[in-house]
């Protein structure tokens, strides 16, 4: 379990993190969201033991990060921002060095190394110096060192940054696979990632937690929650369709995008409007290319609460 209690970090005049309190249980994948500079990395660094909190406390699996730093760190696999490593080392040598410091020995060390090399597809670059690798490979080496000792807690700072879509998919499925028995905290500013892997999202802005919810509930805060979006076959029906939609009592607002002949009807106070709109388009003879119900737009929620 990860527990933080009124965690604060101040630098001279700047407050990087203020009064951050949360708990994470095994099986949860927590996504840290927030604009750049909001305090995501500082919070993760405090959990990993790299930055000392100004006040408040944090514990990992019951070990306080300040009073029992080694025990806490042994429970954590940490991928720092930018996946730093020793560039002149070869991949195999680097992973062995980390495994040794993580106190893996003998058959277990070999088995764990084989596992992470296979899982992150590093076999082809094992004998290459890390500094000669592509960004994607370097990130995967960073992930490999984080999970080599099979820790109960994973803290990953932007694990998919710099990866191509295939590699992103691979890393996300790796996270999903490990999610069942571990505690995973990731930071990201890619909102689709939250939907893809997180069971819970904490949004941080200016060092404070501004939202702590499931991705679904977070999206439900959007004014697009339960909105209906429809695309017309014939763009010349756009004006008529707009008027018709606006007349429905349960529709609060209609947004029009002329470029792709799309209309979005926003409901009044979350009222269900799909039924009414589908009936309306039938009775008015609107030819529809597409009609769908929106669950909410995370990016819009994100902008609203972090602005």
């Amino acid at each position: 379990m990860i527990k933080t209690d009124h965690l604060c970090k101040r630098y001279d005049s700047v407050t990087a993190v203020e009064d951050v309190t949360f708990e994470v249980q095994p099986g949860e994948v927590l996504g840290f969201l927030g604009p750049n500079g909001a305090g995501k990395t500082t919070t993760m660094r405090m959990l990993a033991g790299f930055v000392t909190p100004t006040s408040g406390r944090a514990s990992i699996c019951g070990h306080d990060v300040e009073s029992a730093p080694l025990a806490a760190r042994q429970c954590v696999g940490y991928l720092p921002e930018g996946a730093p490593s020793y560039g002149e080392m070869r991949v195999r040598g680097f992973l062995e060095f980390i495994a040794d410091l993580r106190r893996l020995e003998g058959a277990r060390k070999r088995a764990r190394l084989d596992h992470v090399i296979e899982r992150l597809q590093l076999a082809s670059v094992l004998e290459q110096p890390i500094e000669t690798l592509s960004k994607g490979f370097r990130r995967r080496v960073g992930l490999a060192q984080a999970i080599v000792h099979d820790p109960p807690v994973l803290i990953l700072d932007e694990p998919t940054d710099g990866l191509d879509p295939n590699q992103k998919h691979e890393v996300r499925s790796l996270i999903n696979e490990m999610a069942r028995e571990k505690i995973i905290v990731i930071s990201t500013h890619i909102l689709e990632e939250v939907d893809a892997v997180c069971t819970r999202a904490i949004v941080i802005a200016r060092g404070r937690i501004v939202a702590d919810d499931t991705p679904l509930q977070l999206a439900a805060r959007s004014r697009y929650h339960n909105a209906v979006s429809l695309q017309l076959e014939q763009p010349d029906q756009l004006a008529a369709a707009r008027e018709a939609l606006a007349e429905l009592p349960s529709v609060a607002q209609v947004e029009v995008s002329e470029r792709d002949a799309r209309l979005t009807a926003l409901p009044r106070a979350g009222a269900p409007i799909l039924q009414a709109i589908s009936e309306l388009s039938n009775s008015r003879g609107l030819k529809l290319k597409e009609l769908h119900l929106e669950s909410g737009r995370l990016d819009e929620v994100f902008r609203t609460i972090t602005a």
Binding site: A48, L70, S85, Y86
Partner: protein
Amino acid sequence: MRNVGLILRRELASYFATPLAYVFILIFLVLANAFTFYLGDFYQRGQADLQPFFAFHPWLYLFLIPALSMRLWAEERASGSIELLMTLPVRVWEAVLGKFLAAWLFTALALALTFPIWITVNYLGSPDNGVIIASYLGSLLLAGGFLAVGSCMSALTRSQVVAFILGVVACFVLLLAGYPLVINAFQGWAPHALIDTVASLSFLTHFQSITRGVLEARDVLYFAMLIAFFLFTTAVALDLRKAE
């Protein structure tokens, strides 16, 4: 101690993974011999000893050791790998000691590779090999002192150039602490006790007393305490501002 060994091994291997090790050893050997033969009048003196060889070591170390020590921590900071190292289950002093010992072992290797001059002097005459062994140990201790100072300077910055300059200046002051150049800066305002303390900190005085052939506990203790002090300072500096 296991972690110290692991870090030492990684660090030492990284010297040889880059041209650094070879360039350093080559330059060290060339300069050490050039100084001995051209500036030290090794042949003309007509004496079978290595006095002219060891006399130049402090000046050689003054520039070469900071060049070696500047990367110890500044590079870790610049590349961000310090964040990796400091979040592994490793104590700060284990990392400081491991890195220092790797650098010291490396200078010991460079020093050991000067053995042809020892063979030469034994071939030419019959030197006092006891004095030569003491001098080698003194030179190694001196290198350790310089490295510890350099390690501390390297921990203060993320720029290797700054670490190098700070290292040279700090080593220069310590080297000449007993000489007018440094003492004059204290005379007139500092109490005598302080001036005496500063003067007794001189690398050069302690090194020269060893190279005369007397390996006194006082001098060995001086270097041991100096190394311990600067390594401790390195660890404190890292602990206070590792993330900056």
